[in-house]
């Protein structure tokens, strides 16, 4: 089940959230562990984490009274599918258009 692409894009649009994702790419972290390097308040970090969680970019698990966050394994698949399709599709399309134009010019 993928999050809507819009939610993914708006979650990624914020530099702090991108930085949080970069930190989580290096491994799991709790809210408190994220507060320190980012020098912003815990409520602010928590708000960013909620946006990322809603977009399906991170997962949180319960470990006693800790709730560590990690990157969702297939978070960017939908975005990836679209983007990869776009570039590859574009190359294939124009090669096909070349052939179509050549065929029409021979008429």
């Amino acid at each position: 089940m993928h999050a809507p692409l819009d939610a993914v894009c708006s979650a990624l649009a914020d530099p702090t959230r991108r930085a949080i994702l970069a930190r989580l790419a290096a491994g799991e972290a709790t809210v408190n562990e994220l507060v320190e390097p980012f020098e912003i308040s815990q409520p602010a970090i928590s708000r960013h984490l909620r946006v990322l969680e809603h977009a399906g970019l991170i997962l949180r698990r319960v470990d006693g009274n800790r709730r560590p966050c990690r990157l969702a394994p297939d978070a960017l698949h939908e975005l990836d599918d679209y983007l990869s399709m776009l570039k590859k599709g574009m190359e294939a399309n124009y090669a096909r258009l070349d052939r179509l134009l050549a065929k029409r010019s021979r008429r």
Partner: protein, 159 residues
Amino acid sequence: MSKLSLTTEGDTIVVVKRRFDAPPEEVYRAHTDPELVQQWMLGPEGWTMPVCICEARPGGSIRYEWSDGKGGGFYLTGEFIELDPPHRILHVERMHLPDPTPDNRIETIFTADGSGTAMVMRMTLPNAATRQAMLATGMEHGMEASYVRLEAQVLPAGA
């Protein structure tokens, strides 16, 4: 070696350039006549476009539906804004996967270049993150690539 060049302007613009060995009239027609669009704008090999609506007039609708022939598919909708045949097309489009992607505003210019055509397609995305992600497309698919891409492309340097 790809003849396609893909560069950026500012935070939200992607510029695609490509040359074709046919005059602007032919290249413009191939972008605006649904019978021709249906023959080339197909994406990866094996895909077809069973539905192609391309009303090339200001306010005209665009709807392209693609199928992989195995029950898979998706579609794109859009609207033409301005047309100046055979030199310029301005339109907006979005993919439906099935959720719509952010609107992509696209200006396509065809200029005579010798006996051929130089095409410049300027795509304006709604925000920097969407564009950054869009530029990450050259890489291979898959999990590992996703994370490499996440680190190298989507995330700012030094984050």
